[in-house]
């Protein structure tokens, strides 16, 4: 079937986290339907935190996502600390930044090398690549393990970290009983990161060899990400809203609702967001477009080698941006370890609340900017919560991309099969984390 008459119905786009559907109908060259639908059931985490003590809230909201659990924990702790007047130590700040880079490294490795690479290498999933590119897959597995170990060492575990609590850290990195042992653990982590850099370079060469397979599609949109004078916006900062003309609005995190402007789409159980334009993009591409000058020099070299120029308006380059961030996070991780070693680790207790009220926290998770907001009563129990995750902020932008992309593909006389793959790749490029799906084994015993 040609693009003049096509019916594309992709139920549960694969290689994304959660469930979303693509529905496109074209008759006689005219687009009759072009929809990005999200059918996931809401999970009501904001209701779950009501009535809970501040010490429990981060552990609950961490469960919003098994991939971005570190980011949810950090955003949650920051919001609670803001509400409770808790100011964390420099050591806590640096450990959290180190942890954040670990999550970023881990998640991006999985997305770029396991979920996106098959598209660029012409495979339906990573499984055929095991036969055709075993060395690439093996190195990807090792890099994935490093990301997992990195976050586990600092946070207690990579998914739903246990050491990060409001006011500080519940324990030192690794299995350490004292700062001296924790220092040795951090030194070991630093060496593991440095040992992984050559493998990341190998992955760069693979990505470079297939970069020509990235669809050539651009659409100007607004890019929203954290910006921070201290570093490339990731753990902390204000909200940067970059417009296509290069102008940028900076908004305090406390005013995040003036940016997100959530609205309900009849196509989706997830809310959509918009700011200065009909939609905006969050994620690695938004971060790099907002923070390019603050990339680590080694990451900038990778960006230049891959032909990346900020601002970039091709959403498919979000995966390229993620890979650039992998290199950035590796070097920044080493830098934070060095800083912590220079400071000398201390056995610190988390700080206590000094007030009770409303607070806001934002951090970047791999998929984009994340907001948490809580209000506490005078006994430290939560009376209200609000969490806005990046994937929801991206849904409207995916729809707007599809609205431009489908007519372009009709004009280019793409086949239905090509159109379907290109649309699936678009959704995957956003690395959506639509929600956690159930998981269980279903087996039959061999006779």
């Amino acid at each position: 079937m040609t693009a003049q008459n096509a019916s594309i119905k992709v139920h549960h786009v694969t290689r994304v986290e959660g469930h979303g559907n693509i529905v496109v109908d074209i008759k006689n060259g005219k687009v009759e339907t072009c929809e990005w639908r999200v059918p996931e059931a809401p999970r009501f985490f904001e209701a779950m935190v009501r009535g809970r003590h501040y010490s429990e809230v981060a552990r609950i909201t961490s469960r919003i996502c098994g991939i971005c659990a570190v980011g949810h924990t950090l955003a949650s702790c920051k919001a609670s600390e803001n509400a409770l007047g808790m100011r964390v130590s420099k050591q806590t700040d640096r450990l959290r930044r180190l942890l954040k880079h670990g999550e970023n490294f881990d998640s991006h490795i999985v997305h770029v090398l396991f979920l996106v690479a098959p598209d660029l290498l012409g495979a339906p999933s990573v499984f055929p690549l095991v036969a055709t590119h075993p060395d690439v897959v093996k190195k990807a597995v090792l890099l994935k393990k490093l990301g997992c170990d990195w976050a586990s060492l600092v946070g207690g575990r990579s998914t739903h970290p246990t050491k990060v609590v409001p006011g500080g850290f519940a324990a030192l990195p690794g299995n350490a009983y004292n700062p001296r042992m924790a220092t040795e653990e951090l030194k070991a982590l630093k060496q593991m990161i440095l040992d992984a850099v050559p493998m990341a370079t190998d992955m760069y060469n693979v990505l470079l060899s297939v970069a020509g397979n990235i669809p050539n599609f651009t659409r100007e949109t607004e890019y929203v990400a954290l910006v921070d004078d201290a570093e490339y916006g990731l753990y902390d900062g204000k909200i940067g809203c970059l417009m296509p003309d290069g102008s940028r609005e900076i908004v305090d995190v406390a005013d995040y609702r003036s940016v997100t402007n959530e609205w309900v789409s009849p196509l989706s159980t997830a809310k959509h967001a918009k700011h200065n334009m009909a939609s905006y993009m969050a994620g690695a591409l938004a971060r790099i477009n907002n923070n390019y000058d603050q990339l680590h020099p080694e990451a900038k070299k990778v960006a230049e080698g891959l032909g990346f120029k900020a601002p970039c308006f091709n959403p498919y380059f979000n995966s390229v941006a993620q890979f650039i961030e992998v290199v950035h996070s590796a070097y920044m991780g080493v830098g934070y370890i060095d800083e912590l070693l220079d400071m000398g680790l201390q056995d610190e207790k988390p700080v206590e609340p000094t007030k009770f009220g409303k607070g806001f926290g934002a951090t970047e998770v791999p998929r984009g900017i994340l907001f948490h907001e809580y209000e506490y009563d005078t006994d430290g129990f939560c009376t209200a919560g609000n969490c806005i995750i990046p994937t929801n902020q991206n849904h409207a932008n995916i729809q707007e991309d599809m609205n431009k992309l489908v007519p372009e593909m009709i004009s280019a006389d793409k086949s239905e099969q090509e159109m379907e793959l290109t649309l699936e790749m678009l959704v995957r490029a956003y690395d959506p984390c639509i929600s956690c799906s159930t998981h269980y084994l279903d087996v039959t015993f061999k006779k």
């Binding site: 986290e17 469960r63 396991f114 339906p124 393990k145 299995n175 084994l441 039959t444």
Partner: protein, 162 residues
């Protein structure tokens, strides 16, 4: 004070919890591992929660690994709360997973991938527990909750007996 092994010390046996906290009994594997870690019952093996992230298990298919015990909820045609052990070699997957991602882990696919990559395959056992409910709720069903310590005991016994 007890000697504390480095975080990066190589342990040779793994007890790995899989599942999803948000779907009631699908979280049983995670609850078991959580209980083991919280009570420091993991002196002779490494316990960790893989959730649905099968890829994090793949990296443990190395020469030093003696065995892996996966603890998970499974549809095994038994009464809710009942359990059994099996080797992954003894079963075929009926699950129609669209691929592999951090939300679509299937240990049987992971083992197959490890075999194709030429990784050494240790003995991989599964403690499979029949769920009573997979509704959207953050706690176990009363049926499984009441037997949590029993599952912990048999899981530890299995991973230690080798």
């Amino acid at each position: 004070m007890l000697a504390c092994p480095s975080f990066f010390a190589v342990m040779t046996r793994y007890l790995i919890g899989m599942g999803n906290y948000a779907r009631q009994d699908d979280g049983i594997g995670l609850r078991i591992v959580e209980h083991i870690i919280d009570n420091h019952l993991d002196a002779s093996f490494t316990a960790f929660e893989a959730h649905n992230d099968g890829l994090s298990i793949l990296a443990h298919f190395v020469d030093d690994t003696e065995m892996i015990l996966i603890v998970d909820c499974a549809l095994i045609d038994k009464e809710p709360g009942d359990y059994l052990f099996f080797d992954v070699d003894d079963v075929d997957s009926k699950k129609l997973a669209g691929g592999i991602s951090t939300h679509e882990g299937d240990i049987l696919k992971i083992v197959g991938m490890a075999q194709k990559l030429g990784y050494p395959i240790p003995r991989v056992r599964v403690l499979a527990i029949q769920p009573a409910s997979l509704e959207m709720e953050m706690k176990l069903s009363p049926t499984l909750e009441s037997r949590l310590e029993e599952y912990v005991t048999v899981a530890i016994s299995e991973v230690e007996k080798l």
